[in-house]
């Protein structure tokens, strides 16, 4: 709900949660004190006196902090939140983006473990196929076909790439996913790499997304330290080394062949296809390139199995999609909803 930023949620020990929108720094103390009472008596007195002095000595008229309260029963909030289904944005609002322990505590890397220890690559591709996942970058190419093409190539060296060069004007879904769920993207990439046989990969992230670059780099470091990336992942034979390549301000580098040229250190000029990246990509080796959101939904699909993802959506477009609402509208932000033939009017 980006139209209410900055957004704060207070969750008490008993599970009750209170939300506030359009918060300003000076209201921070009032919000904290509304929910958490200071313990030592001296501190209580201190807080009371300083609040009194604030009221007397400052010109600011004191408005109750409750004006910021966001009630989920408010019409516009309910409409925004209710119809969303969180797959790529699972645990939205609950986990710290770069806290690996929190991610692990919320089923993090369980899907990767399942793929490495239980399923064989063909079973993984079959599951992706049954779920009907199509590329979330916009072209909508069936993901299982791309993965199969790279997997069936007999070359020894293969690469995996994440296309984080979101250039579509008005689109910021991938930015949100990279900043908020970096581990989920890495897990999705690891699953894909294991399936197709890649041992090295790159996340190409736009220069205009510095926070995303920082968080993904931090996430990669932490994963390496815990044996979730690098050599012998989860103590298996599977190794994968990922690194971030920052874009340099060229819109065309969102196109996969231009993107690969950029990673190779050349001018980002697109080339004709065939040959497709699955056949000859980075440095002429078979390369799997998928969009950020495509990788983000893979762990959920593996964990929830079979047909759950494809239980929503249209005949040809299954599952959920994150949409960005921006421009001349009342309430901007990001929503993740099932792909249904619904008019844009309904999304307000």
């Amino acid at each position: 709900m980006s139209y209410l930023v900055p957004f704060v949620e207070v969750v008490l020990g008993d599970g009750r949660s209170f939300r506030y929108g359009m918060v300003e720094p000076r209201d921070g103390r009032a919000i904290v004190l509304r929910h958490f009472k200071p313990r030592p008596v001296s501190r209580k007195v201190g807080v009371l006196i300083s609040s009194l002095l604030d009221r007397i000595l400052t010109d600011e008229s004191w408005k109750p902090v409750t004006r910021y309260s966001v009630d989920v029963r408010d019409g516009h909030v309910a409409e925004y939140m209710d119809r969303q289904v969180h797959v790529a944005t699972e645990h939205c609002g609950h986990i710290d983006p770069v806290d690996l322990d929190e991610y692990l505590a919320n089923d993090g890397f369980m899907a990767l473990e399942k793929c490495v220890k239980e399923l064989n690559p063909q079973e993984v591709i079959d599951q992706i196929k049954r779920n009907g996942l199509r590329g979330r970058g916009g072209a909508g190419f069936p993901t299982h076909l791309k993965w199969s093409a790279v997997r069936s190539n007999t070359a020894e060296k293969k690469y995996i790439v994440c296309n984080g060069d979101e250039g579509d004007p008005g689109a910021f879904m991938d930015r949100m996913l990279m900043e908020s769920y970096p581990y989920r993207i890495l897990e999705g990439m690891a699953i894909a790499a294991h399936t197709v046989g890649a041992d090295e990969g790159f996340l190409y992230i736009r220069a205009e997304y510095p926070l995303a670059v920082r968080r993904i780099n931090e996430a990669i470091d932490k994963c390496r330290q815990r044996g979730l990336l690098g050599n012998n992942i989860l103590k298996s034979n599977f190794s994968l080394n990922l690194s971030v390549v920052a874009g340099a301000g060229a819109f065309v580098c969102g196109e996969e062949t231009a993107l690969m040229a950029s990673i190779e250190g050349r001018r980002g000029m697109p080339r004709l296809r065939p040959p497709y990246p699955a056949e000859r990509g980075l440095w002429d080796k078979p390369t799997l390139i998928n969009n950020v959101e495509t990788y983000t939904v893979v762990p959920w699909i593996i964990r929830n199995g079979a047909e759950k993802f494809s239980s929503v959506g249209t005949v040809n477009s299954k599952g959920m999609k994150v949409f960005a609402l921006a421009g001349k509208i009342a309430r901007g932000g990001l929503i993740e909803v099932p792909i249904i033939g619904r008019s844009s009017r309904e999304t307000h």
């Binding site: 980006s2 139209y3 930023v5 900055p6 957004f7 704060v8 949620e9 207070v10 008490l12 020990g13 359009m22 918060v23 300003e24 720094p25 209201d27 921070g28 103390r29 919000i31 904290v32 958490f36 200071p38 313990r39 501190r43 609002g93 609950h94 983006p97 979101e166 250039g167 579509d168 004007p169 008005g170 689109a171 910021f172 991938d174 930015r175 949100m176 900043e179 908020s180 220069a207 205009e208 997304y209 510095p210 926070l211 995303a212 390549v245 874009g247 340099a248 060229a250 819109f251 950029s262 250190g265 050349r266 001018r267 980002g268 960005a324 921006a326 421009g327 001349k328 901007g332 932000g333």
Partner: protein
């Protein structure tokens, strides 16, 4: 052997305004960190861009001396990608978004307002004090905050001509300290959890000021 680097590099318009003595140790360090193969050209140029604010000619020549990167490659790559500058920039970079959402909400007017306020002539992009350089960029990904700008790594949203002085003042002020409130002040015993305060910290929220709220 390749053509004389000087002949090719003169095509790159990189007049040095700051005439400090050459310090090539940074270039040497970057190269030893990133590598010397030809494909590392983008990463090396990006590191130079970040450090100097532009691509100084002498540093580029040093790169050619120490790596497999050719002058042709440097000219080709640095002229293709918008991020690279060949003229010195001010201390801070103002990027005004002119993506579709910002465009319809008046991004061009915001750009003009900044140029007017900073007295930057039409043919230039940096103010006289060399504090700010302004440029237009494609989408920053903060479209619901249109018109949006980015000064260095800080995003500001809902801009208008009138807000220019406030935004610049706020940015320069922000270069100072960040205040943090500690749990000790509430008398929390170690290991005890009263609850959790969750503050959204993605780029759009930070642009709205959530970092200060945190």
């Amino acid at each position: 052997m390749a053509a004389n680097p000087d002949e090719l590099l003169h095509l790159v318009d990189s007049d040095r305004i700051d005439m400090n003595e050459l310090d090539l140790t940074f270039v040497d360090e970057i190269i030893s960190e990133i590598g010397t193969s030809a494909e590392k050209v983008l990463q090396i140029l990006q590191a130079l861009q970040r450090h100097y604010g532009y691509l100084p000619k002498e540093e580029l020549q040093r790169v050619c001396e120490l790596t497999d990167i050719t002058p042709a490659s440097i000219v080709g790559v640095s002229s293709f990608y918008d991020q690279f500058r060949h003229r010195p920039s001010g201390r801070h970079m103002i990027r005004v978004c002119i993506g579709t959402a910002c465009h319809v909400k008046g991004g061009q007017r915001v750009y003009d307002a900044f140029k007017r306020y900073l007295n930057i002539p039409d043919t230039e992009d940096t103010d006289a004090d060399r504090l700010f350089t302004i440029e237009k960029v494609a989408c920053l990904g903060c479209c619901m905050l249109a018109p949006a700008i980015q000064i260095d790594d800080v995003v500001y949203g809902h801009l208008s001509g009138e807000k220019v002085p406030t935004v610049l003042g706020d940015f320069l002020e922000q270069q100072g300290s960040i205040v943090k409130q500690s749990a000790q002040q509430l008398g929390v015993k170690p290991g005890e959890e009263l609850g959790e305060i969750r503050v959204c910290l993605d780029s759009s929220c930070i642009a709205g000021g959530s970092a200060k709220v945190y």
